[in-house]
Symmetry: C2
Subunit: 199 residues, 2 copies
C-alpha cells in the first residue's frame, strides 16, 4: 500500500546522494574496494608504528620498452601475469603476516574460484613456516567482513578437490571465521584478530 | 719461454668451454646476476621446505591497456616506478625476513647511491617491528659476498647524511658484515647467517 502525504500525494523516498554520503562518512566503505580498505588499514598501521604490511605490486611481464631519452623508459608492450603468491605480506611484532583479500557480491557463499591453486599452495608453505596466514573476505552485498584462518580455507579447498561444494557457505564463515566489525580507524582492523588469536 | 710438444710444435692452452663450464659448475656464478643467485637460493629454500622468500614484482604504473578480446589484455603504455620497499621478503621459521640485494663493480667500496632513502626508511620500520633486515652485497669484480645487518647499514647511511663518506669501504664490510662463502647448494646460503645470528 502506498504511503500518502496529508495532501493525498503519494510519498516517494528520495534518493538523496548527499545524505547517503554523510551517513557513509565513518561507517561505510564509500564505494571503496576491499583492497582500498586494506591499504587504508596498512597505511594506518605503518604511520602508527603498529606493523609494516604492503600490497605486492601486480606482476607484469614486460615485452617491449622504448627509451625516448637516456633517463626515461616507456613500456610499450606488457602483459599481466597470474600472481603466484598472495596479495599482502609484511611484519607485525616480528611475526610474518601473509594474506589474500577477496570480495564477493554473493549473499550466501564465497565461490572458491576466486582463489587460485598456486595461492593455496603458497599459503600452505607459509603456514608450515609458522607464518600467520589467512583469507579476508568481504560479502559486499551484505557489508560483512570475515577473517578466515588458512587452516580452515585449506580444509574447504580440499573438500572441493575431493568433489565437495565449490564454495564456502556464509554459515560456514559464521562458524569457522572471525567476523570483523568495521570501526572508525582503521576501518578494517584485521590485526586486532591476529592479536587476539596469538594470545 | 714457450712450452713445446715432443714434435717441436708450440703448446697453446686450449680454451675448452666444456672444461671451464665444469669448473664453474659448483663454484662460480656463471655470469648470473646477484638477483639470479638469490632467486636460486630462494627456490632451494622453497623446494626443501626451509623458507618461503620471494622477490617482489617490479612496480609498474599502467597507463593504457588494450583489450583485443574479452580474455586478454595488452598493456600499451606503462612506466617503471621507484620501489618504495626492498626487493625480497618472506618467512623463515615464523620470522619475517626482509632484504635488499645489490652488486657493485667497485673493488674497494660500496657506493651508497645504490640504496634509496625510502628503502632505508622502510628497513628502519621493519627493524622496529623486530623483522630480520639486511643488505646483501656482491663485490662482483672480486667475487665476494657480504651480509650487512641493517643496524650497520643505518649507521653508514646516517654518516653520509651528516656529511661523511658516500660509500661503505670494503674494509668496513670486513669488520661489520658477515662474509658469505659460496658453496654448492644453495650457492649463496644467506639463511645460514640468519640462523647463526639468531642463536
Amino acid at each position: 500500500m502506498a504511503i500518502r502525504y496529508p495532501n493525498g500525494k503519494v510519498y516517494t523516498p528520495k534518493k538523496d546522494q548527499s545524505i547517503v554520503k554523510k551517513k557513509d562518512y565513518s561507517f561505510s566503505n564509500r564505494g571503496k574496494t576491499l583492497e582500498d580498505e586494506i591499504n587504508d588499514a596498512n597505511e594506518y598501521y605503518l604511520t602508527h608504528g603498529i606493523a609494516v604490511i604492503y600490497k605486492k605490486p601486480i606482476p607484469i611481464q614486460v615485452v617491449k620498452v622504448d627509451y625516448p631519452s637516456r633517463s626515461s623508459a616507456v613500456i610499450k608492450e606488457a602483459y599481466y601475469r597470474t600472481a603466484s603468491t598472495t596479495d599482502f605480506n609484511g611484519v607485525y611484532e616480528g611475526k610474518y603476516i601473509d594474506f589474500e583479500a577477496k570480495e564477493t557480491e554473493n549473499r550466501t557463499a564465497f565461490p572458491l574460484k576466486n582463489v587460485h591453486l598456486h595461492q593455496v599452495e603458497h599459503m600452505r608453505k607459509v603456514v608450515k613456516q609458522h607464518g600467520i596466514c589467512f583469507l579476508l573476505v568481504r560479502f559486499s552485498a551484505i557489508n560483512r567482513y570475515f577473517y578466515l584462518p588458512f587452516e580452515h580455507l585449506g580444509l574447504f579447498w580440499d573438500r572441493m578437490q575431493t568433489g565437495g561444494r565449490k564454495s564456502i557457505a556464509l554459515s560456514e564463515f559464521e562458524e569457522h571465521a572471525i567476523e570483523i566489525s568495521p570501526k572508525y580507524a582503521p576501518r578494517i582492523d584485521y590485526l586486532e584478530i591476529v592479536k587476539n588469536l596469538s594470545v
